[in-house]
Symmetry: C3
Subunit: 342 residues, 3 copies
């Protein structure tokens, strides 16, 4: 699926020749015929008029099976391309993609900015029966807020954001590019939908990759004070129903968190990590990007998780390991230091 056009309406379309020129990539194979490309999309969710990219070998299966019309890729992966896929070759596919995505989405950060003479709640926003919008709170065009919600004062609710019924948005919260279910609570100062930390290296410095995914928050989710949930880069960032996130937690772009998880304060989950259902994460944990954490995993406070974790396992330490192994290592080191100290 290309980016949700309610949040990110694309420029273009572009021909493959235009994409080659924009990106600096070389047309290796062109099956476009008269097709023009209308958007970027993740490889596993793309259609014939979308452009994708492959930058990480971990996603090679998505490349082999993609339904995208065109893909930006390094030369060494060409042999694994599915038939019919048009191919743009680049030494740095991520940089080339950044340029293409910017061509489609030059204004991905744009948000409603009323001035003092404008209406704070845009006339096109729909506010459900029984909902209260606090003084000073901005609600952007085409936003939809359900019934019996309280949005506290001095918040910022961006364009086209959807909030379900019976939600409680604390003071000074910001929400952009996001869709919230029912009974969601966001506590004061939470930041939902800011751009992920996404950029490609280039000879002239970092080039921003437009962040054109959303944040999808399930029913009954609670998110603590001053926590930050970045929106997706292309895929969405997803927080499953009933999950509770404490204060000052960082969730990177494209992270998927299952249902009924508990995430304690100051934990950080890096981009594209995939967290199962019922996972319990202690405070100040770090989880590296692109990992799979199985259902029911428990992670001790301050752990640094650097590998996938199988379902149901309890892990701890940095690098995180099964908790019994961690205790053995702690004991072994204490004994060793004691011996040496004699």
């Amino acid at each position: 699926m290309p980016p949700d056009s309610r949040f990110f309406a694309p420029e273009g379309p572009f021909t493959i020749s235009q994409l080659a020129e924009i990106s600096g990539a070389t047309i290796e194979r062109d099956n476009s015929e008269n097709r023009v490309y209308s958007n970027v999309a993740p490889l596993d969710d793309a259609e014939r008029n979308d452009v994708g990219f492959l930058d990480n070998k971990a996603y090679i299966d998505q490349f082999r099976e993609t339904s995208a019309g065109c893909c930006i890729v390094e030369a060494r992966y060409l042999s694994q391309a599915p038939e019919g896929l048009s191919l743009l070759v680049a030494d740095n596919p991520y940089l080339a993609y950044a340029k293409v995505a910017t061509a489609f989405h030059p204004s991905a950060e744009k948000s409603y900015c009323p001035t003092a003479s404008d209406e704070l709640v845009h006339p096109s926003a729909a506010i459900g029966a029984g909902s209260v919008i606090g003084a000073g709170t901005v609600v952007g065009p085409n936003a939809e807020i359900g019934r019996n919600c309280i949005v506290a004062p001095n918040c910022y609710i961006g364009d086209a954001v959807r909030i379900g019924d019976n939600c409680r948005i604390g003071a000074l919260v910001s929400v952009r590019f996001s869709i919230l279910g029912n009974n969601v609570s966001l506590f004061a100062g939470a930041r939902i939908g800011e751009p992920g930390f996404g950029f490609a290296a280039s000879p002239t410095g970092a080039v921003t990759v437009p962040q054109v995914g959303r944040v999808l928050i399930g029913d009954g989710v609670e998110i603590g004070a001053n926590s930050t949930i970045d929106r997706g880069a292309g895929p969405d960032t997803v927080i499953g129903a009933g999950t509770r996130i404490d204060n000052l937690v960082q969730i990177g772009h494209n992270v998927r968190i299952g249902k009924g998880c508990i995430i304690v304060a100051q934990t950080g989950i890096a981009g594209s990590a995939n967290i199962g259902d019922g996972v319990q994460v202690g405070g100040q944990v770090g989880i590296a990007g692109h990992l799979n954490i199985g259902d029911g995993v428990r992670i001790a406070a301050q752990s640094g998780v650097m590998r996938d974790v199988e379902p149901g396992i309890a892990v701890g330490g940095t690098p995180a390991m099964p908790i019994k192994k961690l205790f053995r290592e702690i004991a072994a080191l204490a004994r060793l230091a004691n011996e040496k100290g004699r």
Copy 2:
């Protein structure tokens, strides 16, 4: 003491039969006579008309000595109940308590939410001589702000909050359910009094425990930008006079911090920890819940404190240990790796 009725006016009262029905607990012993129960309260601070709970063996002494009228408890602790205490037995006392507390306090998150046509500073709020309330700042009903305070623009000061004299509240700060002394400084984006991360497990997911304690902040306290100080669950969260807290620090519910402490950035202190006077905590430290940290303790940056620490000790590492022991372990491991590397 039951919850402060200025912040949390209870519903009820309820008979013990009603409490049993609400909570799903069984009446094991009923000394209520004609008494009705008017509130929940922590066991060590409850009176005859209050309902408490025991969920953690660490607090068994409070149970043995409580003056509460009724307590929710597991069957195995019944024999240790003081005479005269009425007893509700539950397999999961915390879940049963969550339901009872919700019956007394169904609206514990409710805060003043003026809309565009309301007065931002509620007419019943008392603002002392010489104090300035910034534009866009909300001050709730019955709030009291002392003399010569500056509350910067776009803040949120909730219902019944009390702020002493000569305080300085930075821009975009929120304060709820809190009582501040004199000469307190809160820097931009600090979040004081959001609910603690409190919920009970249940077959249908997490059940919120209403957070009905306050934040009490002593004279001369400073709290850094974007730090979060959760209010108590029932007991209060307390920050002693003269303590200085840096940016992005998380203080959990019921934490008690003594006087003259120094807490460096990004440290997290979990719920119900008890920190003495003059404690110095480095950056990015984690302190587990329910611990006792003695007066004058020094904790090195990035430590993970998992046990009580005696007064005056310097600790470091994860799990935290006396600092000399930590240095011995670091040296021993370096030697070992060197040997093995040969």
Copy 3:
């Protein structure tokens, strides 16, 4: 250079006798003649009418070569004073300095606080062509905002702040005592220019050291949601051009970060650290104060850096060490625990 008078106009001037009285220090050598002292300044950047201090042996060379007119110092360093420097001796030079700096700058935290009847954008602020100031946003006296900027709603931009062209300031951001270049992006909830965590110990508790430095942010810098960049204590806090800082990052006072650095979420950099160009810092890293981190250094996630790092090195672990050494230690400990477990 003494503090920028656009942000911090000094009281005074004071004679050396007045300074001695204010600080409780003793005049050890007086070359002042008729000179009066007009400000405080860092030793390496001071002029004849400025007062500096030496509190950390690491800066002894700055003391030996200072052009300050007067310096507060411990007796043991007197012999290394340059000729002509007037000398105030104190047992605790930092405390004495705190008192002197407070005499010059009693109102270092003062910021524009319009009330409901004042103009949010001060008439003396200059807003460039094409720039949009969101509703509810405060812009202080003498602030200068360049062309084609968007400052989202409900922000706080303090007195005399300068923002370049094409900058994008997200919702609910605060900026004080800062100068931003062109093409800077600050995401929602970022806190720029709050005071550093600076105070001197005294018998009656911590004494605040007025924070009279600025934050200087280069062209193209991006700073993530809810990150906090403290202003300098006297020197400035500096973020070099093109550097990208993720969410919930803490940058202490006087930190200097070079160009083109990448700093991932929840990292903390303590005061006066000096980070080179092109440094890559993983998530949840801690860097101790006053360190020098060379150009091109890479620091693994969750590391604790406690010593200087040479240019180009990759380090990891706590305490941070070369990454190969870290892997050897991890492997050696795993083997040891395995042996012991048999």
